[in-house]
Symmetry: C2
Subunit: 396 residues, 2 copies
């Protein structure tokens, strides 16, 4: 049978991330490739108790029956309150949409806005899956220059004028892949610039609460003066990715459009997941995050230390939170070509080039530190250093 | 803020179904509008036990971490075996994709196949949400004539030749909205005709196992000789809609493409939902369906009896299973116009016109009998009959 695929399929391959997940099922692999939260921090006992209580109590029937696409009203109210913690105030129920994880929020936003050929501005480099989802709408990503402070506002302005983008997509706190955080001043400038030119913004904040050093910065959305910013966050890194639950926050008009899109894609997010997250959020979340941070801090530090020790030639970021370090290999080494050899030696990373809107940057790599213990981190970095040195002919 | 919506949004409104769900939260309403399974049949005790066991046992960590977009391997194997019960044999793991309910399966299929302007053939009338999702891909639905036996094969052939459709979409067992079931001979003819012309088929089977009278007919997919048919079924009507879990079955090539699309829309279906359904399926499902059928049979019969008693002028279907009766109002009454008046009298239905690819058929209605008890069914039909008679000036 020859199927008549849609045009979008020509641009779609399995994301590098998902394909690598499969490769990594070999137990001897030390993986710096994924973006998984530390398994040690997944609160299985509390979730077990909550699930049993919910299904045995007054909420059982509303969990088991159909729900509405917006999500449960009481959960939405709780979420409206929750985002106050990142400086987003005045949020009402109608400004919220329960999403099946951050990925689902990105998809719904692009479905709402993007026609074939439309331009979206992104930080260069940016979240790989965003680029893939944009491909599925046959949109076009244009990279905006960035610096240690955040986006380059002059370049942002120029590219807005030149490309008339439908959307700007950013991960301003502990960015994927670089781990970078935009300053408050930079956020304010982004909000002002996009408001001035009427550009919608999608702020993706999956990692913001995983801050183990430095000072918190309010969400980009908190600088929104005209309703052009939609904020999404998920509980995948804070409670459990397997539950597939998050929230989108924005003006009721655009949230309503995203809700209509959600009706057609998965009808609604799992009711059981919604109420598990709601109760966990109310009872445990703040303390749980506080308890989890030392482990993340320790692992990041172990990776930084191992890099300093075994591959001092690697230029790299040093984040205050989140899951990732981004580095540049020495001697123009090609990270894509080197990956199979690394995996042969039981260590995996993701080549940085896949995070760039226009590709290139073949000598960059993304290293995840959250899902390996310190001993594995030490061993994995050492093994990777050995491979690099073989390829460049010694330590340089 | 003026958002730059995508072209598809012009065609998308909240589905009639979802909007009516909200209206129906008033407790005094007797609703024949939805498509909810009987709440009495949702197995809350068993699901509570299963969830507690899963989260307290060896599966806890794989439930809480990220999963793969395809779904859990062991669940997929179980699903491959499960569809054998509707005559689909020889299914391997790679022929299955776990979906977040039937809606998600439809969305992924259309994402895989449909470009703007592409034609899809559907039975006229067909599932409302299918038409809405097709709108979101800016595809065009063309209705195929049908009769008591299934699709009109001559009309199907003619429309395939004329429109060169990307897809044929059918609900061959207890169709939504009519409750009709295609004969085995008709299924064979559909399989042969679509194979001959290389048309991909989506067989949607959410209700097939809810048969309370008559003889089972094998799935349309069981007549597939060339791999052109993709079969989707969900556990929403059999176990719980709130868990959002189902399966798509097809050739590995197209399942792979749908999986890539799923990576971008919700990453994967809730892990907890997957394993709850798996265990429920293995331990309880067959017996649970058997136990549920008398209630569905009783409610359908109560509605048929009430129609015969109070509105003998209503021409209607009399299904052997599923959730719906489809009827034609007397005197050319307009069901859309009458709906607000019916809701004022605390009874709701869905106007049939929304199920037709080209609209029209304003005098038709869909009545759901699964989510009201027999006393409510009697009272609701009586009340509806009174309204109709007021409008047409007495019983005719």
């Amino acid at each position: 049978m020859k199927y008549g695929y849609s045009g979008r399929m020509a641009n779609l391959n399995g994301t590098a991330t998902r394909e690598i997940f499969k490769l990594l099922s070999r137990p001897e692999i030390i993986s710096f490739a994924g973006g998984l939260p530390a398994s040690e921090c997944l609160p299985k006992k509390e979730i077990q108790e909550i699930a049993a209580g919910l299904l045995g109590g007054k909420d059982a029937m509303r969990i088991l029956q159909y729900g509405t696409s917006e999500g449960f009203d009481d959960f939405r109210d709780a979420l409206a309150h929750y985002v106050g913690k990142v400086g987003i105030h005045g949020v009402k129920r109608e400004n919220t949409l329960v999403i099946s994880g951050g990925q689902n929020g990105i998809d719904l936003m692009l479905k709402t806005l993007i026609d074939k050929g439309d331009t979206v501005l992104v930080e260069d480099p940016t979240y790989l899956a965003f680029l893939q989802i944009l491909n599925s709408y046959e949109g076009r990503a244009v990279g905006v220059k960035s610096n240690a402070d955040g986006l380059d506002i002059a370049d942002l302005t120029e590219k807005i004028k030149k490309h008339k983008p439908k959307l700007l997509y950013v991960v301003p706190t502990f960015s994927n892949p670089t781990g970078k955080t935009y300053s408050a001043a930079n956020r304010k400038a982004i909000a002002e610039t996009t408001a001035k030119y009427g550009v919608t913004v999608l702020e993706d904040d999956p990692y913001g609460k995983l801050r183990f050093s430095g000072e918190s910065v309010p969400a980009l959305k908190s600088f929104d003066t005209c309703g052009n910013i939609v904020y999404i966050t998920s509980f995948s890194k804070l409670i459990s990715p397997g539950l597939r639950t998050g929230v989108a926050v924005g003006e009721s008009e655009i949230i309503r459009k995203m809700t209509i899109c959600k009706q057609g894609t998965d009808l609604h997010t799992s009711n059981l997941s919604q109420l598990i997250v709601k109760e966990y959020m109310e009872k445990y979340l703040d303390a749980h995050i506080k308890d989890s941070l030392p482990l993340y801090r320790e692992r990041k530090q172990a990776m930084i230390d191992a890099i300093d020790r075994y591959m001092p030639y690697l230029k790299h970021t040093d984040p205050d939170g989140g899951l990732f370090i981004f580095g540049r290999l020495p001697g123009g080494l090609n990270a894509t070509q080197m990956l199979p050899q690394a995996v042969e030696r039981n260590v995996a990373y993701i080549q940085g080039s896949v995070f760039y809107a226009g590709g290139g940057h073949e000598d960059t790599i993304r290293l995840n530190y959250s899902n390996a213990n310190t001993e594995q981190i030490e061993r994995g970095i050492k093994s990777l250093a050995k491979l690099i040195e073989e390829k460049i002919g010694g330590r340089k």
